[in-house]
């Protein structure tokens, strides 16, 4: 893993401002994404995954605001830039050529009253004005063929395509301008396992071909374990653990990661009784002073309520848990 860094996220915080008070949906998020890497982000519903994705691509909608942090992007050519500080106009030039996005619901993401092909050509021609109409259409055809859709479906309207086709065409669309980074927010939740497999296999093959990096968000940890190079586990707006897939699966450090892993019964391995994670996630509007997972944590103790544990490197991964705090007497018990 010696690839150069593509994206450096540093202390990113995102708030939702509501009349009832603001909720910090992403809090002090830091990580580095390397070129060509697949970073998985997992966590339960409401943990801030989508918020993170939209913040990374600077696409957040009111009432979300980036309240702190930097997102430093390293283009292949040129100086690193902080996306947070960029103007909308400057960003627009980077969009899709460098940053593309695939969202969860393909039906909602395609303009229902535009033909599929037109949704390709407008972005192609925006970023490459030299492309004429026919050439753009040609290119759109190549793109959809890449994901196993016949180019003669280009004149179709989105509602005339099956769910799987729509989802795949979104992936093809994301690759239209050969981006450096594709962020994917649960791109396969709405399709069934067979289709999911097909789509992910395609993403991997295309990644091989084009070398883009992926930030892949899902709540399905078992899927990420197969797919991602590294995985970040989010809980209540924070990354609680980040590390390679293998490490996370075999040696989860954070009690939450462990609980999450054990929420997925195995397909082949011997069965045992699993219990999931009891309780429900905290209210982000009213954060606890200590570890947000404390109330649900089987190993919680007094120290957990004091302060939010910082992310620190433990063995191969980074964990935010007092159990791994060298100053914590309980820590040794586990480590």
């Amino acid at each position: 893993m010696t690839d150069p860094a593509l994206l450096q996220v540093d202390g990113l915080s995102v708030d939702y401002l509501t009349p009832q008070g603001s909720a910090r949906a992403c809090s002090d998020i830091s990580f580095t994404l390397r070129r060509g890497e697949i970073l998985g982000v997992a966590g339960e519903s409401g943990s801030g995954k989508s918020t993170l994705i939209t913040a990374l691509t600077r696409l957040q909608r009111p009432p979300a605001v980036t309240s702190a942090g930097r997102i430093v992007y390293h283009p292949a050519d040129g100086e690193p830039v902080d996306l947070v500080a960029q103007s909308e106009r400057a960003l627009r030039r980077r969009r899709w050529r460098q940053l593309a996005i695939v969202m969860q619901s393909a039906m909602d993401c395609l303009n229902p009253v535009m033909r599929l092909g037109a949704q390709f050509t407008d972005v192609l021609r925006t970023h490459d004005p030299s492309l004429d109409r026919a050439a753009a259409w040609q290119r759109a055809g190549e793109l959809v063929r890449m994901v196993g859709i016949a180019p003669d479906r280009l004149p179709a309207y989105p509602h005339e395509l099956s769910g799987g086709m729509r989802q795949r065409s979104l992936i093809a669309l994301a690759l239209a301008c050969d981006p450096d980074l594709v962020v994917m927010d649960e791109p396969t939740t709405a399709v069934d396992v067979v289709m999911q497999r097909q789509i992910l296999a395609q993403v991997l093959r295309l990644r091989e071909r084009f070398g883009f990096a992926v930030v892949f968000v899902t709540h399905d940890l078992s899927l990420l374990l197969e797919l991602a190079d590294r995985i970040a586990i989010m809980y209540a707006g924070r990354i609680v653990e980040i590390g390679s897939s293998a490490d996370l699966y075999h040696r989860p450090k954070h009690p939450y990661t462990k609980g999450l892993r054990d929420s997925f019964p195995p397909l082949h391995a011997p069965l045992r009784e699993l219990s999931g994670i009891p309780g429900s996630p905290p209210d982000l509007r009213d954060p606890l002073p200590g570890c947000a997972f404390g109330p649900r944590c089987p190993r919680a103790h007094a120290a957990c309520e004091q302060a939010v544990p910082p992310l620190r490197t433990v063995e191969a991964q980074d964990v935010a848990c007092v159990l791994y705090d060298p100053q914590n007497p309980e820590a040794t018990a586990h480590a």
Partner: protein
Amino acid sequence: MPDTPVPAPRGTSDSVAPVLEAVGVSKHFEVRNRGGNNAVVRAVENAGIALHRGRIVALVGESGSGKTTVARILGRFYAPTEGEIRLHGRPVAAGGIARRDYFRKVQLIFQDPFGSLNSLHRVRYTLGRALKLHGHARSRREVEDGVIDLLRRVNLTPPEQYLDKFPHELSGGQRQRVVIARALAVRPEVLLGDEPISMLDVSIRLDVLNLLAKLRDEEGLALLYITHDIASARYLCDEIDVMYAGQLVEGGPKEAVIQSPKHPYTRLLLDSSPDPGRSLAAGSASEGLFTATGELGEPPDPADPPTGCRFHPRCPFAMDECRESFPERTEFPDGQWVHCWLHQKGRAHLLAPAPPAQSLKETRP
């Protein structure tokens, strides 16, 4: 937490009479297709399913394969186009058993716990109505006691705390448990669960699965569990039936089906299901059956299904027979059965060694 092995499935399906049984049911929907002409969607074709006391049958299959339709036929939400439903061996069609009496025996649990509870009614009302409707409680006292008892049975404790809550004050898992409690209120013998956990957050799904297992074990309910997720089916069920494009293609004891699938579609399903254990079992990656997953093709159009075995256009082993007619049922000694020409034609060896499927991820240098 100690790793306690799940008890092995008890009894076999043949030993006792099924509580609820679908015999050769089909369901066709009249729809209007794009040209504005009428078309028939063959959502379910000649399916048979038997639910036994104290056992859970899982029905798996990809989207649109007809699972929900089967559940709704069993729940008498749809009348089957063909075939019949038998409750304790008695056909229930037209006049056989009154709807009210039927619902007393068979209850359906919906996928979406957010939608299946009326947001304007308190838990007390929802459960109380179910009790009163079937005469299980009359006075206020009885209703209150009945509701408390129900809440306790679905592990919502202390029950008093939940009595007067509105659905939006409950978490997803709690809501699904209220839904189950409502189904239990009529004291059914059969529960039909249509993807009862798929809308729940990952961390709380197991809770509900464990509750269903408890109901089977402690109350001897017969259960149908519909899911996409084979892993959870394996975790919960005794028996797995696989459905493809409206047809039941394979079934049998769960471990048999999962460890040695006899139908290529079951293999595809298993290969497609994420399994962290598999991919991370270092170096064991070998060729799967469906390597070129990209060229698998689209699922069939239920309004115009392929002839013969409906899986043939996507099947790597497709033979001429497969295109012509639907194969007979092949039974195996351990209770597994399959509809596949490979077995009829003695080519089963093609499937025989079930290698651990290929990992999605290439091992990168």
